[in-house]
């Protein structure tokens, strides 16, 4: 039975399109990998410039030797009350150090990166911010990245 009554009709309702897959293969076991954290949660040093809560495509470097009490969040897109109590619930820097100490991973990158995700200037994130962050991680010899956001 042919269910098509009129040929060539298109939906006027916008439907989301998932982009094509991206994939970088794993080349070594975890205990040989150097790991970096990258977060969209708006994490940065207290001494650093805050993000513009109405939209910001810049990023902040977070040195791995930072004390987690010297970090804070500026992000207008989610309830900050949990992360204000404990930065690790969005940026698990202390937990990552514990896992490195027990040998679960080989080591931790010298720098982590924070930015304010959740929308904004998509073109800038895709064409500028994303590639710039990727470049920093490449230069530091990072083998794998754990992100938080979404």
């Amino acid at each position: 039975m042919d269910l098509t009554v009129v040929k060539g009709l298109q939906s006027e309702v916008y439907v989301p399109i998932t982009p094509p897959p991206v994939w970088a293969p794993i080349t070594k076991p975890l205990n040989e990998m150097v790991i970096a954290l990258v977060t969209a949660a708006g994490v940065h040093l207290k001494s650093d410039k805050r993000f513009n809560l109405s939209g910001d495509t810049t990023y902040r470097i977070i040195p791995n030797d930072t004390d987690s009490h010297d970090l804070m969040v500026s992000h207008g897109g989610y309830d900050n009350s949990d992360v204000n109590k404990d930065i690790n619930c969005m940026f698990p820097i202390d937990r990552l150090k514990e896992l490195a100490k027990e040998g679960f991973i080989k080591g931790i990158a010298l720098s982590h990166i924070g930015f304010m995700g959740g929308g904004g200037d998509v073109k800038a994130f895709v064409e500028k911010t994303g590639p710039e962050i990727a470049n920093i991680l490449k230069e530091e010899g990072v083998d794998g990245v754990v992100m938080t956001g979404g």
């Binding site: 970088a24 949990d82 109590k85 998509v122 962050i133 990727a134 754990v146 992100m147 938080t148 979404g150």
Partner: protein, 83 residues
């Protein structure tokens, strides 16, 4: 996810810990873990290092175990924020 995809395109494998897995799926994540958490506490309850460490450990394990782009693995940890 835009930044995650950019890092992945540069050749570095990535995984994201997400509170909103459908959003992450829609935006084309390569790898994702999803504990049962609210936005803003993706790595688990504040001041609960055991839960946070387990979520991070399981996420790192999935970084090397997920073998299909776009796969989202649920993690058996639950935290409900009291608001």
């Amino acid at each position: 996810m835009l930044v995650q995809r950019a890092i992945e395109e540069a050749g570095i494998p990535t995984i994201i810990i997400a509170a909103l897995p459908p959003v992450v799926r829609q935006n084309g994540t390569p790898r994702c873990t999803a504990p049962i958490v609210p936005m803003g506490a993706n790595v688990g309850e504040p001041n609960n290092p055991d839960m946070q460490r387990n979520i991070l450990r399981d996420t790192l394990t999935q970084l090397v175990e997920i073998d299909t782009p776009g796969k989202i693995v649920s993690l058996p940890y639950e935290y409900t924020a009291r608001v």
